[in-house]
């Protein structure tokens, strides 16, 4: 397990795959990911393409670890905007309307055999019923 600062944001792949549909294979492949610094991947003992579990005070989610092409950023994990990132975010907005979607404390652990939930399963998990 490693401790990181989690940031979320736009990625080109997220932008393109969003246009292919939120339920498309491409969207899940490009958005249910966590970009990590190569050194952090080594520390975790995880190779690019294997699943990891990301946990914050607010929630946890399984996504695919990928080696960042925007390194170095040791200690910083990046997940593109989307339903997988949102689960990890606080709802408090500190009187601004804006939840803290960047810069939150998180832990990452290997989860090679755990499933990445598709958007439908993810929403079912969040709302606690069949959507």
């Amino acid at each position: 397990m490693i401790k990181v600062i989690l940031i979320t944001g736009r990625s080109l792949n997220q932008g393109v795959s969003k246009e292919l549909g939120k339920f498309s294979k491409e969207y899940m492949e490009k958005v249910a990911v966590c970009e990590l610094d190569p050194e952090d991947l080594k520390l975790l003992g995880v190779s690019s393409g294997q699943n990891v579990k990301v946990k914050t005070k607010y929630g946890e989610v399984v996504v695919k670890a990928t080696e960042s092409t925007q390194a170095p950023h040791k200690g910083i994990a990046f997940i593109p905007y989307g339903p997988w990132a949102s689960i990890l975010m606080p709802s408090a907005t500190e009187s601004t309307g804006m939840p803290s979607l960047k810069g939150i404390e998180a832990t990452i652990e290997p989860a090679k055999d755990e499933e990445i939930l598709d958007p439908e399963k993810l929403i079912k998990m969040v709302v606690g019923r069949e959507p």
């Binding site: 600062i5 944001g9 736009r10 549909g21 607010y58 709802s91 969040v126």
Partner: protein
């Protein structure tokens, strides 16, 4: 086959207006000049389309769906109207009329992107300009907490770092500085990269302002950056003839939020004692700026406007949609051209799923999944015309290139029908 030139791309806030598309049999078959996202948007807009209105998952006529939407809105005590950044200015305007009529709260997606920018600007003002000014005059460009290589793929080539301006001819005549927590693809093209510690933008902006004003810093290191580097940077900023600071959600979403923007505004203000310096927010969705403009001109406030008192009331942190939802205050919601279920924190989504939601969208989304009423609409900028505001608040006209699928109307038309029936219903 016909070719349409000077098409405005309805994806990001850059609103590139030089796109060329080939149309054959009422379909866009080829896109020239657009970025990867633009090309996908123009050619794949029929993926995951919704073709029929639905109530509780059952296909119904448009009239039935509109009647149900009207009933929900008319019976709600405090409905929320949210989204608006991916539709036309004209549609947003009708949304405001609906919100006023039903005494609801209307917010746009700025509240979860550049809302803190607006709050910072309201506190401290802003020295800004159009993108054309940057292209023609800016010798020094800073990208702070933004990654245009990914989020605004043609911004650097068309408007900023690498654009060919009248007085500044291109990339070689400009100095480009990137401040970010990662060495982003934008950072890799910069002359100077400042890798800042997460959540310390406020400190660096403030230190930079001190260095601009007073020269030397007392600390050895601020935000992970050595003092000499900050002083060097301050000298560079003072020495350019025209500087532009582009900033993104790295400032608005991390610790400090609106206070980061205020610090950036104050830095730019200080720099204007020595040279010409401007700042422009990197707005995300193609008409999120328009949503702010329309709401500001119609109500006096750019987002988070509450009509429940009978007059517009604005209190971000209270009347913003995430807060309204998290508290469980609203008892119905109308979502237009947005997918909050994909992007909101879990607590907010749980409460949204408990109330009747009406969603207008061309495509299936996570929000349509939890909606009671779903009304499919035309894709603005491809199947429907309208106006939109670029990130620098320049309005541009979106074109209608092809006909929408049979029976599908634009957001503007559907909202007009809802408004008309609501007026009769709540008379």
């Amino acid at each position: 086959m016909k070719t349409v030139r000077n098409v405005v791309c309805p994806f990001c806030g850059s609103l590139c207006d030089d796109i060329e598309v080939d149309i054959e049999d009422n379909r866009v078959v080829k896109v020239r000049k657009g970025c990867a996202i633009s090309a996908t948007k123009f050619t794949k807009y029929n993926e995951e389309r919704i073709y029929k209105p639905r109530i509780d998952g059952r296909e119904v006529s448009l009239e039935e769906a509109i009647n149900e939407a009207v009933e929900i809105l008319a019976n709600a005590k405090y409905p929320a109207l949210y989204g608006w950044s991916c539709t036309s200015t004209e549609a947003i305007n009708i949304g405001i009329e609906i919100a006023e009529l039903v005494g609801g709260v209307m917010d746009n997606t700025a509240s979860v992107c550049h809302g803190p920018t607006i709050l910072g600007e309201q506190d401290a003002g802003i020295s800004t300009c159009t993108l054309g000014q940057v292209k023609n005059r800016a010798e020094l460009i800073i990208y702070w907490g933004c990654n245009p290589a990914h989020a605004h793929p043609r911004h650097m080539a068309r408007y900023s770092a690498a654009s060919r301006g009248r007085f500044v001819k291109g990339r070689k005549e400009r100095t480009v500085i990137v401040v970010d927590v990662r060495k982003t693809h934008t950072a890799k093209t910069a002359d100077i990269f400042i890798q800042i510690k997460p959540n310390s933008d406020f400190e660096l902006l403030t230190a930079l302002r001190w260095a601009v004003k007073n020269g030397e810093l007392e600390q050895e290191e601020i935000a992970g950056i050595p003092a000499e580097k900050i002083e060097e940077l301050a000298d560079m900023l003072i020495s350019c003839r025209f500087g532009a600071l582009f900033f993104g959600l790295g400032l608005t979403m991390s610790a400090g939020k609106a206070r980061n923007i205020e610090a950036a505004v104050n830095l730019v203000r200080e720099l204007n004692n020595y040279t010409k310096f401007v700042m422009v927010p990197m707005r995300g969705h193609f008409n999120v700026t328009g949503a702010n403009e329309v709401m500001a001109w119609a109500t006096g406030f750019p987002f988070a406007v509450d009509f429940s008192r009978g007059y517009p009331f604005y209190n971000p942190g209270d009347t913003t949609f995430v807060d309204v939802l998290t508290r469980g205050d609203c008892d119905a919601a109308l979502i237009v051209a947005s997918d909050p279920v994909s992007g909101f924190p879990a607590e907010a989504i749980r409460n949204l799923a408990k109330i009747p939601v009406i969603t207008l969208d061309p495509h299936e989304t996570l929000t349509t999944m939890i909606s009671k009423v779903v009304i499919p609409t035309a894709v603005v900028g491809i199947e429907a015309e309208g106006s939109a505001y670029r990130m620098d608040a320049v309005p541009l006209r979106l074109k209608k290139l092809v006909e929408p699928p049979p029976g599908i109307l634009s957001d503007e038309e559907v909202l007009k029908m809802i408004l008309k029936k609501l007026k009769e219903r709540v008379k």
